[in-house]
């Protein structure tokens, strides 16, 4: 098996249409009561491309819009603006109102909450059978029942579950077992693109590695593309070709995974990397360092690229600065740019409570 580091240039050399492109995606939610005008800008001008056979990790702050991005792409949420191209086709135009069956056979999502995403009334077998039907295999008519049965059992073993669990109901499964059913359900469709929203957060590391290796194999052998949303930076690094970092509804940095995590350029990415638990560190984090990074994230007055004559800075436009070797496709948003008002919902802002929110 070749497990050499994937060449960073791999995704960009391809002239093929990317598996998924997101352009200028925006989503604003209105919250509070009926007559309140409070709004949360969950996504703002998000651009993201996933090549064929590429895995892109999406990491970032809790509440920064990762699930919203995936849900918009999966057509479970209507974006306020922007375009979504699946295999080069603008799906918001093609299927105006809802996801078509073609769409569902091309793209599948694994939901963040395994406790909320499996209907309690059905046995596990039901979920997988339905997925096989979307794929056009199994169930009705021609395909033999024995074949379907074999495929069902195979799906269970692929995710490390025993086949006899096909007869179980979701409530009879542990958290990690449900998570694996959710993965198997998406795999059964054999889609080209999988949006996996924290698919392995409840798995012990040993099983988790198995699932990550499985995803890697699907990418390498079947050319599946994946958006892998996670809080586990080490697994992003292990699995994903590229990693994108989200903060307050916008992508602030993106690049080849190893390079991005070794040389994080945005203060938020630096903050994130510095907070990865490490028993060897013994004792808690350095509050002074933390406060400095926090300040740089929320109200930076300087940008590392200010003196670079080739890279213009801007506090109004989210310009991208190239970081290091261009082959790594590593860019960072200009530090001078600040998240817009109404980008609500980020935890960093909640810290010393700046000024009280205007009452609804």
């Amino acid at each position: 098996m070749s497990h050499a580091v994937h060449s960073p240039a791999r995704p960009s050399v391809s002239t093929q249409t990317p598996a998924l492109e997101v352009h200028g995606l925006g989503k604003t939610f209105h919250i509070g009561g009926l007559f309140s005008s409070q709004a949360v800008r969950a996504l703002h001008r998000v651009d993201l491309t996933i090549g064929r056979g590429e895995i892109v990790a999406l990491v970032g702050e809790s509440g920064s819009g990762k699930s919203t991005l995936a849900r918009c792409v999966a057509r479970l949420e209507k974006p306020s603006e922007g375009a979504i191209l699946l295999d080069g086709i603008d799906v918001l135009k093609r299927d105006r109102f809802q996801a078509s069956r073609t769409f569902r056979s091309q793209l599948q999502m694994v939901f963040q909450d395994p406790f909320g995403s499996l209907n309690a009334a059905h046995r596990i077998e039901h979920f997988l059978r339905r997925s096989l039907t979307i794929h056009g295999k199994g169930g009705t008519g021609q395909g033999s029942e024995a074949q379907t049965r074999r495929r069902l059992e195979e799906l269970m073993t692929t995710v490390g579950l025993q086949a006899d669990m096909l007869d179980s109901y979701p409530h009879e499964l542990s958290g990690g077992q449900r998570q694996r059913v959710a993965i198997a359900r998406a795999l059964a469709v054999e889609p080209q693109v999988i949006l996996a929203d924290e698919p392995t957060s409840m798995l012990d590391v040993s099983v988790r590695i198995g699932v990550l290796n499985l995803m890697r194999k699907l990418r390498d052998e079947q050319g599946i593309s994946m958006l892998y949303i996670t809080h586990d930076l080490a697994s992003a690094r292990y699995l994903a070709d590229r990693t994108a970092v989200m903060f307050a509804g916008e992508i602030v940095e993106e690049g080849e995974s190893l390079d991005l995590l070794a040389n994080p350029a945005h203060p938020y990415t630096q903050l994130l990397v510095s907070a990865v638990p490490d028993p060897a560190r013994a004792g808690s984090y350095d509050p002074v360092h933390r406060a400095r990074l926090r300040q740089a994230v929320m109200a930076s007055t300087a940008c590392a690229f200010e003196d670079d004559p080739h890279q213009r800075c801007s506090s109004e436009e989210p310009v991208r600065h190239q970081v290091g070797d261009p082959r790594n496709g590593h860019w960072v948003r200009c530090h001078l740019y600040r998240p817009g008002a109404g980008a609500g919902g980020h935890a960093l802002a909640t810290e010393p409570l700046p000024e009280p929110q205007p009452a609804a």
Binding site: I31, V59, S174, M202, V207, I209, A275, P277, G344
Partner: protein
């Protein structure tokens, strides 16, 4: 910093689980989810529980809370809390016991909030119902609690579906610490939190815990986090505890091959990408024997040396 095991042994533990066996009796499948498990947690101690997915961790937590539902059955063993027999408590006693004495953040936290009530109403309800505060005072305290878990108090008016997965998880953590219970059970409380927020919230809980002296049962798959936060920990496999010791000892010298696999299976954050295998294909442990003390305070279930060799080989490939 680390509280030694002996300092807890000298007085009555807050929680004492003895020889607990729990079975799920189904029509098609019967599982012994917890098999003769014993452990205790001292006052002010953080006790970590790690292990395979499906090894019975949540089942133990639910047993302590007396929340096991029908096909589940405590086949043997005892659970005592502050000297009281939990398994014998009446419904009346349980009402007080849950929330006030013991509070739990369920693994399903994200999905456990009431969808038709706002976050503010749900947090405030705990104070009005259990602490008898006025509506206004309860809301004020609710806002304070949300700040503790880094949620903008403006979100008091949001409904659960309007919050991100991690925000819901944090709201539930806030609710669990609201009444300052003497035992806090956290079942994978931070799966949806970024590491910055996770670290800050866990530091807050740790501060609170030191100040108020409550005990914590902490279930997580994040071994690094567990070692950072727990005084002692246990590792489970197939319904059995295979190793228990001070968290730091397990980190530096894991003895059971399953513990070693757990400790060695997280990918590094630096260096080249190297392929990892979890437990190598085919390595399974059966009929796990009772624990034996191998070093002071370090207990391990005796294991087959061949299995160990297999694991080490697999990890080195």
């Amino acid at each position: 910093m680390t509280v030694s095991q002996t300092s807890f042994g000298s007085h009555e533990p807050v929680l004492d689980v003895k020889n607990l066996t729990v079975k799920y009796i189904g029509d098609t499948r019967s599982t012994t989810a917890v098999d003769n498990v014993s452990f205790s947690i001292g006052a002010g101690e953080v006790f970590g529980l790690a292990g395979e997915s499906g090894c019975g961790k949540s089942t133990i937590a639910n047993s302590i809370m007396r929340l096991l539902k029908d096909p589940a059955n405590v086949a043997a063993g005892s659970i005592s809390f502050g000297g009281k027999d939990v398994l014998a408590m009446s419904q009346d006693e349980l009402r007080r016991f849950r929330w006030q004495d013991v509070a739990m953040v369920f693994q399903s936290a994200m999905n456990s909030l009431n969808p038709v009530l706002t976050i503010g109403e749900q947090v405030a309800d705990i104070f009005t119902t259990h602490a008898g505060y006025s509506r206004k005072e309860s809301l004020r305290r609710a806002a304070q609690l949300l700040e503790l878990v880094r949620i903008d108090p403006a979100r008091l008016k949001s409904y659960p579906h309007q919050l991100s997965g991690g925000m819901r998880q944090r709201a539930v953590i806030a609710m669990a610490v609201a009444l300052k219970p003497s035992l806090l059970i956290l079942d994978e409380p931070t799966t949806a939190l970024d590491v910055v927020v996770q670290q800050e919230i866990m530091a807050q809980i740790k501060d609170l815990q030191r100040e108020l002296g409550f005990s914590v049962l902490f279930i997580t798959h994040d071994m690094s986090l567990m070692v950072e936060l727990s005084h002692r920990m246990a590792v489970m496999y197939g319904g059995r505890i295979v190793e228990t010791a001070k968290a730091h000892d397990i980190y530096t010298t894991p003895r059971h091959p399953y513990t070693q696999a757990l400790m060695g299976a997280f990918p590094p954050l630096t260096g080249p990408r190297v392929p990892l295998t979890g437990l190598p294909e085919g390595v399974k442990f059966h009929n796990i024997p009772d624990l034996a003390e191998v070093a002071p305070g370090h207990f391990v279930a005796p294991f087959d040396a061949d299995a160990e060799a297999g694991v080490l080989e697999g990890a080195a490939q």
